[in-house]
Amino acid sequence: MPDRRPKPEELLKLAQEEEARQARGKLKIFFGATAGVGKTYAMLEAAHEQLEDRVDVIVGWVETHGRTETEALVKGLEILPPRLVEYQHATLREFDLDAALTRRPQLILMDELAHTNAPGSRHPKRWQDVVELLNAGIHVYTTVNVQHLESLNDVVTQITGVRIGETVPDSVMEQADDVELIDLPPDDLLQRLREGKVYVPEQAQRAIENFFRKGNLIALREMALRRTAERVDQQMESYRRDHAVQRTWPAAETIMVCVNMKPRGPRLVRAARRMAAGLHAKWLAVYVQTPRHLRLADADRERVNQTLRLAEELGAETATVAGEHVAQEILAYARSRNVTKIIIGKPVRARWKEWVFGSVVAELVRNSGEIDVYVITGEAGESRPLITPALARTNRWPTYALSTAGVVLCTAVAWLMAPYFDIANLIMVYLLGVVVIATRYGRGPSILASFLSVAAFDFFFVDPRFTFDVAAVQYLLTFAVMLAVALLISNFTVRARQQAELARDNERRTALLYALSRDLAMQRGLENVVRVALQHVTEIFGGQVAAFIADAEGSLALHHEPHRRFEFDPKESGIVQWVFDHGERAGAGTNTLPGASALYLPLIGVKGPIGVLAIRHAQKGYLLDPDQIHLLEMLTNQIALATGRTLLAAEAQQAHVAAETERTRNAILSSVSHDLRTPLATITGAASSLLEGKEPLAPTARRELAQAISDEANRLERLVKNLLEMMRLEAGASRLKKEWHPFEEIVGAALGRFEGKLGDRTIETRFPPELPLVHLDGVLMEQVLMNLFDNTLKYAPPATAIELTASVSGHTLLVEIADRGPGIPAGDEERIFDKFYRADPAREGGVGLGLTICRGIIDAHGGRIWAENRPGGGAVFRFTLPLEGSPPRIEPEGDGHRHADT
């Protein structure tokens, strides 16, 4: 049964696309067959219309090519000043991306989307600038010619014979919100060209002769029209999807293109993309990594890498599979991904090689079963690498010399053995030599050794000796077998060795990853995780490594290994930010700012970007190696996950603290509201009975009610005072106003406040006779003593004495207040000083702030306060105050104790 309804995941994807589109700027492309059809003109006209609608339009870049009508249209539009770039003694004018992002217009005009930026710009290509503008939410109008589309590049070259150097990935065009085709019949265009409306006359003549031939123009026009039609088709389809118009949903086609290190790779990739676009199929690009891969020249490896990157840019999913047998691997992977069509390059090898070594294509076709196999021609030398790596080919000649020396050695050994052994045994010596050489130096040298061995054997040991003549015909067979055996041995040995190397390589990689993840798992805290990660990356890749981790506000902080500094160029901080914002790698070896000194990779965790990893390697191309990139990516994933995990843990911790704070706050609120309401309830109740009591109240009852009001009001006042004092202490607002006081006087002042409240309890004070002046804040110290008395009076039983003692030892004043009450519950000695803590919540009285305030004030004086239980029952509160500085001198009064009678 056909699938008649969009699947939920498709709808989700739609919604996500729609969401992304909302935030992004809208891209409108003015699309034409060639230069001169009037794209720029149309774009400027559209801009003017927008301007009239009060849209904030600026011109980011416009090429008028000196055309007067176009220039006239530019007038009246705000033009972003170009950036001047010094390049090889010339000053180039370039679009200023940063200025545009700062200016933030609603709409920006960007002519010539395919333009290549001057070296040193942030992006090598203008279309990358445009993508960044769109991501920043700025709408963009731009112009593109059909020949600039990446996938049509080859076709255009075939038609016109002119290779276009500047291309735009098709994905940019596909993601455009609007494409307007600017069409002009070829005759009209040629007419315009002749009238000098497109190029200045002499240029125009050259152009007509080369590119603008009528045949070319017709072909290009057709391509442009077809491309636009395809787009309309796609829109129709997506309209249907959006509006759930029920139609047959084509069975999903999946196309897979197989690439190798051959230069035609990009061409295959482009062909695959065209086919995929035509079929609306998803497509994959696959490279099979055989043991041979390890022996490839760096340039070849890089070519594979670039082909895969091109495929990625064109929208393919890419994969590298490792295996011995190319055709089998391709088919296995294709089946695992439900591939319906395979595209592979036409073999270019000589026919005899196919007979000898077999043909991947033939095998593929034979075993493909239900999968269609498309074999496509390749044209060598057409590929332009995206980046030309400066890699030196390793010199392999010494290995050949060594292999020759090996054969010489074998000959010497055989020479010594010859008198005693049968000639057939001497062959064994040579075969042994070939095995050793194959193991050591690989295929080429071992093949050389095979031939040399046969020659040496013939020359030195076969009669007639010291000539290459052969006496008996049977020796020819001996030679043939010997050569065949030597070659086979060499081949097997080399292969075994390569597989071992590959296995070792994989094992090494797995071991590295395992070591990293094991070490990361053991770390706690961001600092440690980053340190370990950097250690590992440095060990594996060498060079300088650093990480930039974003904090809560999103600003990136540099971390590097303590003893191996990463010399960060502040000029590259823009790249770091870019990588972080876009989640793509940039810097050395990439397409974005390849001139940078280091490679910057994004660290993307579960909840989005976390930071950026930077690697700088002395050997510039080192990090371009796909193996290394692959390994690096796996490492960054691990690191990102570990870092993300750490950050999540920190967040969880913070959330826990916040919850705890919330809990405390609630406890405080309930405590305070209870303690405020209780006295208020009493006051309200007592006052209302005084006001509304029906019978005139007896004088004693009246008095009692008034007393209750008064007491509760006092309690309320104490409470408010404590709360205010606490707040001031916590805000650090109560700065100490220290003066020199006799301590006894402060005690006296505090005791004065308790007159009439002691009942039958007494307060006994003991002071040494010569108590020095103490430097303290009198008002706050009175508060301490009042709170301590208050607390003591709550617990001291009637008819007992409260003892207050002061003493001096060294530079410390010790004050003790002791009672005979119930004492302090065991374990509460410290907690009673905590905010809102009450030893006995049932007991009436304060909110549990008095002692906290005492501690705050004593701490501020540089002293210490604590509580203990007394031997014999009761509690004792002690505090110390430092006796600092020397008290001011009091000038003596001259003579006489008695005042003069005069």
């Binding site: 402060i746 002071f767 002046l773 009064e893």
Partner: protein, 232 residues
């Protein structure tokens, strides 16, 4: 000295406080005038010529300390300042600027009446009149003419400064005196910032004249403000 029918001007913006005074003070024989703002207070003080002014320091329109200075220019009428807690510094400034005493909100009616009685009594005294030559409070007797001090009938010997300090406190008995006022009177205008002198000599007086110096009965400390000789 009869204080009946003394007139009191209350300058206070809080209606509840005014209501409380309006219901209470007439019962004790005071005639009450009310002003809600500083401006109105100044006008009424000039027009009514009250015997006593109760001035709230937190008026919405005029600064309390400013008010004291302007009222002082108007007349020598005694002023009692009503202030919130924890404003020791402002209390001291108000007193030094010429306010006669203060009560801290919230206050009980007894406390206010006691303060009022004291300032009215001091104000009623003619300039140069030093009052009774012999001052008595509890067991303490000070013979100002003979310059002799007795506790429970036994003469106590004081140094000249101690004696001078005592006489000033006694002369202003019941009224608060700031450190500055005491320093100026006893040590002269050069020592007005050395409050520890007063504190030390105050302690001497307590040691010589109080039964329990650590729990004084006469020489009360109002921390952050000054001292008061208690008479009740």
């Amino acid at each position: 000295m009869p204080i009946h029918e003394a007139s009191v001007l209350i300058i206070e913006d809080e209606p509840e406080i005014r209501r409380f005074l309006r219901t209470t003070l007439p019962q004790y024989g005071y005639r009450l005038y009310e002003a809600l703002t500083g401006q109105e207070g100044l006008t009424q003080a000039a027009a009514r010529n009250p015997d006593l002014i109760l001035l709230d320091l937190g008026l919405p329109d005029l600064d309390g300390l400013d008010m004291i200075q302007r009222l002082r220019k108007l007349a020598a009428v005694p002023i009692i300042v009503l202030s919130a807690r924890d404003q020791e510094q402002i209390k001291v400034e108000a007193l030094d600027l010429g306010a006669d005493d203060y009560v801290t909100k919230p206050f009980g009616v007894n406390e206010l009446l006691a303060r009022m009685r004291v300032v009215l009594r001091h104000a009623a005294r003619a300039p140069g009149d030093t009052g009774d030559p012999v001052f008595t409070a509890g067991t303490l007797r000070v013979d100002l003419e003979r310059r002799q001090v007795f506790v429970s009938g036994k003469e106590v010997s004081l140094t000249p400064i101690e004696y001078k300090l005592l006489t000033i406190l006694v002369r202003h008995a019941g009224k608060v005196l700031t450190y500055r006022q005491l320093l100026k009177e006893v040590w002269g205008p050069l020592r007005v910032d050395e409050a520890h002198y007063v504190r030390v000599y105050m302690q001497h007086l307590r040691n010589k004249l109080e039964a329990k110096p650590a729990h004084p009965r006469y020489f009360l400390t109002e921390l952050g403000v000054g001292y008061r000789f208690r008479i009740d």
